[in-house]
Structures are given as C-alpha cells and as structure tokens.
C-alpha cells in the first residue's frame, strides 16, 4: 500500500488540472448492445427507438400473422434497467387491450418476465415470448380473468370479443383501444 501511495503522490504532483473523465458504457448497456445487434426478428416483430442513442428504452411492436389477434398492431414499452441481465427488462403494453394475460393497465403476465427470468435469456427471448402470448393466449395464467374465462369456456364468444375490442369497441361495457392496422 505504501509503495502504491508513493507512486500515487508522484502522479498527483505531475498531473495537470482538469484531466478529462472517461465515461464508460455500463454492463447493462453493453449487454443490451449485444442482445440488440444480434437480433434476427421475424417480420411480425419490430422495434422503434425514440432516441437511437438510448438502447435501454424503446418500443416493440407485434403484428401477429395468425390466431385470434391477427390484424392487430400491439405496442409495448420496453425498459431495460441498470440491473439487466440480472433482472428482467420491464415490459408494458401501451394500449388498452382485451387479452387473458394482459390487464387493462398493460401489465403482462409472461413467466420469463418475472419468475422464470434468467440472465442467459435475452431480449430476443422476451420478444418471442410476447409474440407467443398473441398466438396462443393462455387461460391458465389469467391477468384479465373475464377474458380468460371466455377463452376457456366460450372460445367462439372470445374470438368475437377480441374482434370487437381490436376495432375499438366494447366488451361487457369496457371500451378498448383500436389496434387495427390502418
């Protein structure tokens, strides 16, 4: 320690004032950079970066090409925190939609976004997981209980409700956002 300090003193004496501080990218930024630059997304998933220099906050858009939700455009805010990949990214749907696994506030029930998240997963897994929710909504993990019950007990009524809601109509006196492609 003393030896180190001696060298430190010399350094301090020689050092001129105001040397530039180096800011470095954080571990979360680097990991997100790696995840994002290696994405090979299907045409049904796209990303928008409001600030291209901020890869930790962006929007993901899912346009399912099959299933109940075909024809809809679903938008999510993705927020990659400083603890990423130790903690999962935070994902919220920005529209009010009728879906068994997404509540009216946009909270999403997807196992890999919470209890089954692991650092070996990546943003790619998150987007694929989100898409799966639209291809195969899961009545077993309900966040919108009524939608889940409809899907389980009256699939044809559920399909009709989805259609109505996607057009911006009402389902059981709750109004939903229009999410149809223009």
């Amino acid at each position: 320690m003393l030896g180190i300090l001696k060298r430190r003193e010399q350094q301090a004496a020689n050092k001129t004032e105001g040397t530039a501080k180096k800011t470095r990218a954080t571990a979360a930024q680097l990991r997100a950079q790696r995840d994002i630059s290696e994405l090979s997304l299907p045409s049904t998933i796209s990303l928008t970066f409001p600030d291209p220099d901020d890869i930790l906050h962006f929007e993901a858009t899912i346009t399912p090409d099959d299933g109940y939700y075909k024809g809809g455009v679903f938008r999510f805010n993705v927020n990659v925190g400083p603890q990423y990949p130790h903690e999962p990214p935070k994902v919220k749907c920005t529209q009010k939609i009728y879906h068994p696994n997404i509540d009216l506030e946009g909270n999403v029930c997807l196992n890999i976004l919470r209890e089954d998240w692991k650092p070996v997963l990546s943003l790619h897994s998150v987007f694929i997981g989100l898409q799966l929710l639209f291809l195969e909504p899961n009545p077993g993990d309900p966040l919108n209980k009524e939608a889940a019950e409809d899907l389980r007990n009256h699939p044809s009524a559920f399909a009709k409700n989805v259609k109505n809601s996607m057009m911006g109509g009402y389902v059981k006196s709750v109004s939903f956002d229009n999410v149809l492609k223009n």
């Binding site: 320690m1 350094q11 990218a25 950079q33 994002i36 630059s37 291209p52 029930c109 998240w117 309900p142």
Partner: protein, 430 residues
C-alpha cells in the same frame, strides 16, 4: 467523558494498544518490495491514508467506530438515508432525538465528539451522485451496504476508473455484508482480485411470484401486499410514484392489502409486514454486524499498514451454525463484464479512414476476429448491424471519416456474435 486530549501517537494511552500491534511485523508476512517499517506505517495511517466508508447504517456505525479507534484520522462517510426509529436498537451512534436527520452527518459528529484527533467528513446523498474524480481521492473504500445495486455500481465504477498506468486511479474495496446471522467480508483489488460482478451468480435469486397468482389467486399475506404495490398502486395513482419511505403510502398499501386478504380469507397482513415486503427488509442482527465490521476494519488496517497479509480474498461467517468462518479465494470469472475477458486492445488507425475501413481492419485484427461487429462509444451507437431501425440510423456513419466520429485515445465498445462478451478497443491515430 474525560476532557478531549490531542492524540499522542508516540506514547499516549489511547495509542498504546495500536503501538503494540505496530511494533512488529506479522509472523507470516513477507513482502520484499515493502520491508516493514513501524514508524512509516504509523505515519501513513496518521497523515496519508484517507478512507471512505459507504453506508452509515448497521455496519457503517461499527466500521466508523472501529476505524476511528484504529488510528485513522481522515475518514469520509457517505449515506443517502435519514435515521428511522427502528434503527436505534443497533445503530448505536444515533439517539431518539436524531430521528429524521441524515445518518452520515449524525454519525460523523458523534464519532468526532468521542474520539479525539479524527476528522470525519459526512456526505448526505447517493453514491451515484459522485463521479470518479471523487472516488479516486481515497486510499481505500469500505462498504457496509444493503443493496446489490449499490455494490455493483461502486464495483464497476472503481474498475472503470482504474488505469494500470496511473496508480492514482487504483482504489481497493473492502465489502462487508450481513443478513441475519450470516455475513461476509471480502477484498476487491481492481486488476488483481475477482470483483463483485464475478460473484453475482452466487446470489440467491429473489423468489418472484407469478403476476397472475397475485392478480387472481393470492395464497399468502405477502401476495396481497405485492398485489397492492405492484398492480393496485399504479392503477389507482397512475403517475404518482410509490415512495416506500412515505408512511402515508405504506398505510395505503397496508389498508388495500388488508382488504384483499379479507376477500380471500387470508390472515397475517400487518403494517410491519407491508413495510417488510415493499422495502424488501431483511433481518439485521447487531452482533453479526459487529463481527463483520471488525473483519473489514482488520483488513483495512492490514492493507494500509502492510503489517500482515490481508485475506485472499473472501471470508464467510455462518453464525447460525456456530462461530465458524470460511476463507477462500474467490476466483475471477472468465468473461466477467466488469473485470474479466473484456479485453481492451489498441488499434492504430488513419484519421482519414472511413468507419467502414476501420471495421474492415478490425475484422482482420488477429486478437479480436470479428464477424459482424456492432460499435458504440460511451453507449452511443456508431454502427449497429441490427435491428433495422438502428442499422438505418447509423449506416450513414460508415462513410464518415474516423476523425469525425472519435478522437485519438477514445475507447470504442465492440460486440459481435463471435465474442463471449465485448471488446474495448482504444483507437490511436497514426
């Protein structure tokens, strides 16, 4: 209390015990570069060593007291919290009349009033508010923290500022931590030992309950509380952020959770449990704090004076199974994003090259070998291979000259499918 006397390092009774320790070198100690010199060591502690203590809570109080009594005279302490009544059972530098005041300043003035000759400089604020120019002024940093996030931050900060060519930038870290009867202390030396990030996998993952369980079939009181904080709060108070230190907010959560618990015939929701769940409070035991703080300060003394070998590099204490401690060398993790594999390499470029030419040369560089590199500088994208939007917004840079995008000496971060993590490349203009 007797009248405060000026410290007498040579013979005063306050220094008698310390002098005895300083008299001779520890039995197993051997360091040819720095032969043991008791006078120089004492002088060093007294006049040169400058220590930062991060956290003035359970561990912090113990650490500050130990350091002051070990002869250190220039101590800084940083803490962002104020004193809560529940702290008083173990955070012995605080009194009931201090409730609501910043921990750092109360702790500093208490120690200074008791220990003559020590100066403690308090900082009331978050560690993230200070930059590397602040942290590099210290000889040593000791952490008594309660969060993974803060530890990762200080660890990464100390590593990022340590430059092998500038000893001035190199600050060792001693990290203490306790949880109930268990505790640990470890020494992290940038560039030599493994770092906090290397051991991240050892942390027990927080058990999370599926959000749909919270929403539809709660079974435990904690489920009701999590439901109230995670789902109900944002729904009811759309844009108001939940402040877990605000008693009104906690009361609201408590009432809401209690009502939900009643609906599902669940008992056991209390105000205290509510606080515990949303603030993620873990039990704190005063004796564990004392043991861990003692270990941290012991290591600080050894590191700073060279009187004995310091631990290499991790000590675990498991007080619920006896007084056993286990010390081992925690190894560096290959590919650790903070200290590991992240090679820094240097590359000489022509200032007149385009970014495309730079990338082509980078691909040929034998020590990196890239396929489809993506390049950023300080987190800002210079060129992205994917996704489409970032490729489109950065592809124009490919035609730009290198000297328009960076200066000689800048470091760029490169990720590539062929790399385990990333490479930093220092760009030097020919």
């Amino acid at each position: 209390m007797a009248a405060v006397e000026a410290p007498d390092y040579a013979s005063g009774p306050r220094w008698r015990d310390l002098n005895r320790i300083f008299q001779r070198e520890g039995g197993f100690h051997k360091d040819d570069d720095e032969p043991y010199n008791p006078e120089a060591q004492r002088e060093f502690i007294k006049n040169k060593g400058k220590i930062l203590v991060i956290g003035a809570g359970g561990l912090g109080c113990e650490i500050l007291k130990n350091l002051a009594l070990s002869g250190f005279t220039d101590i800084h302490v940083i803490d962002m919290d104020t004193i809560d009544i529940s702290n008083l059972n173990r955070q012995f530098l605080f009194r009931a009349s201090d409730v609501g005041k910043p921990k750092a300043s109360v702790a500093a003035s208490f120690i200074m009033s008791r220990v003559p000759g020590v100066t403690i400089t308090p900082h009331y604020g978050a560690i993230q508010d200070k930059d590397t120019s602040y942290y590099s002024q210290f000889t040593l940093i000791i952490c008594g923290l309660d969060s993974v996030e803060a530890r990762r931050w200080i660890n990464a900060t100390l590593f990022s500022m340590s430059d092998p060519n500038e000893p001035d930038t190199f600050v060792p870290l001693i990290d203490g931590g306790t949880e109930g009867f268990k505790g640990q202390s470890r020494i992290i030396i940038p560039g030599l030992s493994s770092c906090y990030e290397c051991s991240l996998d050892m942390l027990t993952p927080q058990t999370a309950v599926p959000i749909c369980t919270l929403a539809s079939i709660p079974r435990q009181p904690a489920h009701c509380i999590e439901w109230a904080s995670l789902l109900e709060w944002p729904r009811v108070f759309e844009d108001k952020k939940l402040d877990t230190d605000d008693p009104e907010h906690i009361s609201w959560l408590y009432e809401t959770a209690l009502q939900r618990a009643r609906e599902f015939n669940i008992t056991g929701v209390t105000y205290q449990l509510t606080q515990g769940v949303v603030k993620n409070i873990i039990p704190a035991i005063a004796s564990t704090n004392a043991i861990i703080a003692a270990s941290c300060c012991n290591e600080a003394l050894k590191l700073m004076t060279n009187m004995h070998n310091y631990i290499d590099n991790y000590m675990m204490y498991t007080g619920d199974e006896g007084v056993y401690t286990h010390t081992f060398q925690h190894e560096k993790k290959e590919g650790c994003p903070v200290c590991g594999e992240k090679k820094t390499t240097m590359m000489e470029v022509e200032a007149e090259w385009t970014l495309q030419e730079l990338i082509d040369k980078l691909k040929e560089k034998p020590d990196v070998q890239l396929k489809r590199p993506t390049i950023t500088k300080n987190g800002k994208g210079l060129f992205y291979q994917a996704p489409v939007q970032l490729f489109e917004s950065t592809k124009a840079n490919l035609e730009k000259k290198v000297n328009e995008l960076m200066q000689s000496g800048d470091v760029i971060d490169v990720t590539d499918p062929g790399l385990p993590f990333s490479v930093s490349v220092e760009i030097i203009f020919k």
